[in-house]
């Protein structure tokens, strides 16, 4: 399936199954069952099961998911199913999640498990091993991100023996794949924020004309579009690099998360400014996008985390090697 066809069909699927009512319900703890069944039926859960080679398909689907703020652990389940395959463990059916643990750290040091309380099982990556624990083997302290999505802190796990991961899979590579997935969701959410803002600027009349006719608004909208475009190109380029296991893959992942994270802040700011007071209400749907942008930019490593990593690469390349680093295929 070409990327465009996959994207169009994913946009239809999420458009059919996500609505403001479902988003509001998800935030009060209701599980979006029909949406989950639809993505399962469409085969989206397994696009990454053979590893990062499926990254173009994964980011294409997640861009559409982000566009609609789909309230389900789709990237987390994709990741967990890949990790199970890499460890030779059968993945349980249903929604899964993951947690990343640096080698030697106690379980309480793992970052919050997204959608932990709703998952059938949790895949904990520690170094290059995987522990797969069923929900009844895990204790969580419930938490939420700014968008109201469950982000549950891990308190402990009873008896889940570690299994070695094959290949070069480690907590760090999983963090990178997760970062690129969040970047894809952000790129989609930014496209949707651009769409909403454009429509609002054309519809809202003040001083006798649509506010989109004012240069002050047009200049801001141009900046919004630039940031959304940069995010989209960064994600798509990084996905191809990762899928092709190219020399640029690690740099591309870091650059994509930094650039989309930076864009997320600007896009949310401008979209709200253009929408005025109505965009600040619970009733308007803009916040489903912007609260996710403010949350997702912090997850799987924020801009500062990845910038430090990329900065180390740049410093190691030195002034003579910088351009070669940037242009590597």
């Amino acid at each position: 399936m070409s990327d465009t066809i996959l994207y169009d069909s994913a946009m239809r699927l999420f458009g059919d199954h996500v609505s403001p009512r479902i988003l509001a319900a998800a935030e009060t703890g209701s599980w979006a069952g029909p949406l989950w069944d639809a993505v399962t039926e469409a085969g989206y859960l397994d696009v990454l099961v053979e590893g990062p080679g499926g990254m173009v398909e994964a980011t294409t689907i997640l861009r559409a998911a982000g566009h609609h703020a789909a309230p389900i652990p789709l990237p987390e389940t994709m990741l967990a199913r890949w990790l199970c395959a890499a460890a030779g463990v059968e993945a349980p059916a249903g929604s899964l999640t993951i947690a990343l643990l640096n080698p030697g750290d106690p379980i309480g040091r793992a970052g919050p498990a997204p959608w932990g309380r709703t998952a059938i099982a949790l895949a904990v990556v520690a170094g290059s091993t995987l522990c797969l624990a069923g929900r009844d083997q895990v204790r969580f302290e419930p938490g939420r991100n700014l968008a109201g999505e469950p982000r549950d802190r891990l308190l402990g796990i009873v008896s889940a023996p570690p299994v070695p991961l094959s290949g070069a899979v480690s907590a760090e590579t999983v963090r990178g794949i997760g970062a690129l997935m969040r970047s894809a969701q952000m790129a989609g959410a930014m496209e949707a924020a651009l769409e909403l803002s454009t429509r609002y600027a054309n519809d809202r009349v003040q001083f006798g004309r649509a506010i989109g006719k004012f240069q002050a608004i047009q200049q801001q909208m141009a900046l919004l579009a630039e940031e959304a475009a940069a995010a989209l190109v960064a994600v798509e380029s990084a996905a191809r690099s990762v899928a092709g296991a190219r020399p640029s893959a690690e740099l591309a992942v870091a650059a994509a998360k930094i650039r989309t994270g930076e864009a997320a802040g600007s896009v949310a700011e401008i979209a709200h400014q253009v929408h005025g007071a109505i965009g600040f209400t619970a009733e308007h749907s803009l916040h489903h996008l912007t609260r996710r942008l403010w949350s997702w930019r912090d997850e799987f490593g924020d801009e500062a985390y990845w910038a430090a990593a990329l900065g180390r690469r740049v410093a190691a390349a030195g002034p003579e090697g910088l351009w070669n680093l940037i242009t590597r295929p």
Binding site: Q219, A315, G318
Partner: protein, 382 residues
Amino acid sequence: MSTPFRFDPIELPAECEALRQEVRAFIADELGAGRWVPNSDFGSHRAADFSRRLGARGWIGMTWPKRYGGAERSFLERYTVTEELLAAGAPVGCHWIADRQSGPLLLRYGSDAQREQFLPGITRGEIFFAIGMSEPDSGSDLASIRTRATPACGGYEVTGAKVWTSYAHESHYAITLVRTGPAEADRHRGLTQLILDLTAPGVTIRPIHNLAGEHDFNEIVLDRVFVPSGMLVGQEGEGWRQVTSELAFERSGPERFLSSHQVLCGLVGRAGANPEPAQGEALGRMAARLWTLRQMSLSVAGMLQAGESPNLEAALVKDLGGAYERGIPERARELARRSRGAATDRFEAALAEAILHAPSWTLRGGTREILRGIIARGLGLR
């Protein structure tokens, strides 16, 4: 409603990567022989002998037909050569305008005689072009120009004035936009492009020094200058369409985000192999922007190669690129361990040049404000 812009994926073909190594070897040889010092701002560093050496390699007009001296290579190969030269700070100024704009214009709209007269000399790095568009009262509002060409025996008589013409004093010709029809009915009709011989009687070139004290800009005063009808480019009255049809080529290239690249390289050098945390993070953020801009610019290049006109996408790249390249010197002065006042220091020299030249980066080739207006229109506002 769908996203109004499209950036198609692009892979540089293998021949581009092979060519890249060839260009890097050439640059290393040039630098090893001390033939020039790397600089940042692509337009303002010029060396006619360098342009001739590049021409001898077949790297000027490289996409053009062989019968006009070109190499019939792809636009992506040209992109590769261009980005390598710019990243290295090579003095590309002499042939730059002819290679990027004037030659392609003549290939698309020029007569066979014009192509034969000018293109081979351009590809050899011997004929240099300038641009005669802006006027004292016409900057962003280009359609308001008043320089007029009236019919004369065997051609036109041109009277008026052009400004901000970079390096007119070191160029042989200028593609000049003039008014041949009335301005009243439709401002965009009645504009015509002529090839102006800068040595013709009646042409006076006066320097306009920039704020750094450099002689880059000129004013060209045209007093009843005779231009033979053979120097008409394309069709009379079609100048506006001809000028605007090719804007994506000059708005999306690597020159739109590499103007301060030597400053970034210098900053990386100053930060050293183990930068302080704040420096390392800043370098990471700048590298992320540079990498992303290059991916966007490459995508536009691929779409141009495919014969499309990604004008909105090109405007997005240019405005983002301008903001990036203007941000580099500002961040560098915060982050670098400076050796103030050391004029011989390459980093300090690059930083000084970048700070002084930066205002022009978001003016030339379409101001930031004009670009954002184009983007807004592309989004469906207005």
